[in-house]
Symmetry: C2
Subunit: 195 residues, 2 copies
């Protein structure tokens, strides 16, 4: 990190991945562990907010479509709000598909410009597994052409090339993934384990 960066202040934990890959579940689990852990297991000055993609669409981006331009706008807004929070010492966890590499890079760059640590978590599962799970029935509809611009089917997902954390949700348990993420946060000195 940057030498001016104050240890244990706010940071952004940015989940990216296709629909159904497990971003919401995993981000919620990390949020819960950190929330209950901050007083007990972990030390961090930051408070925590979870900005879930669906919630953000309701409050910040109602009316936006899933075209590339509108998705970019949505991600920029999440980035803007995340920076506002993180620069005030809040640990911000975001969980939006954020399929375009360029916009994720932009969000990262703008965070860096404010000395806000940005940790990208790529949540991956084989497309076959996602289609097979299809918890919300969206893949079926997308394949049938009933949903336009569906990431992974009729719209691209550009996988991160160098994410700080890479989770294979089709090969590991949620608890394993959560542990892996928390370990990375400790390693990066964004949180500390209590002695």
């Amino acid at each position: 990190m940057n030498s001016q960066y104050q240890r244990n202040a706010g940071f952004i934990l940015w989940f990216t991945g296709m629909s159904g890959a497990g971003k919401s579940t995993l981000s919620q689990a990390v949020y819960d562990r950190l929330r209950e852990g901050l007083g007990e297991q972990f030390i961090a000055t930051g408070r925590i907010e979870l900005l879930d993609g669906d919630e953000v669409r309701t409050h910040l981006s109602k009316g936006l479509s899933f075209s590339k331009a509108d998705r970019d706008t949505n991600i920029r807004r999440i980035g803007f709000v995340s920076r506002l929070l993180a620069r005030n010492g809040v640990i911000v966890i975001t969980a939006a598909i954020s399929p375009y590499r360029e916009i994720r890079a932009e969000v990262r760059r703008l965070a860096a410009a404010e000395k806000i640590p940005f940790v990208e978590v790529y949540v991956e599962a084989e497309l076959e597994v996602l289609i097979d799970r299809d918890t919300k029935g969206l893949y079926k509809k997308a394949i049938a052409g009933e949903i336009k611009d569906f990431t992974g089917i009729s719209a691209p997902y550009e996988a991160p090339e160098n994410p700080e954390i890479h989770i294979r949700s089709d090969r590991q348990e949620i608890s394993e993934s959560v542990d892996a993420i928390l370990s990375q946060l400790i390693e990066r000195e964004l949180i500390e384990r209590k002695p």
Copy 2:
């Protein structure tokens, strides 16, 4: 306030008033005084963010018009972001026209539901004075019919009935107004003057 409210935590200082009434100037002055004063003259645990109407339109509401529906959406977004910040201990100062009473009341209600103090500052000046000042040349255009839905000319401004603070920018100096606002914040125990 509420007994559960923790003294000197985050709160929302919400400026409302017509274009040119002095919201931006005044909110910036309060922001500056608080920012420099928090370490010296005042005590507050909160950090500070200023959400100016124009900046917010760029980052959160690009594409929205000035119709009632779009203005309401814009104000709801500012309210959402303000609550996110304030509930994490940030002092949030907003400066948007926010002409509709009902939406301001909604933002206030949602803040109260999270025990976030909401302080409304009504910045008023006679319409004649605003038209006379017309620093941005907008009133002239609005009167000529070149700008649609312009607050005070071709769209309503619903003045607050019971604002916590009422500033007459056409009758008092900026420094007087800033002092009046800071005094109110002290009186409400949202900030403290250092002994």
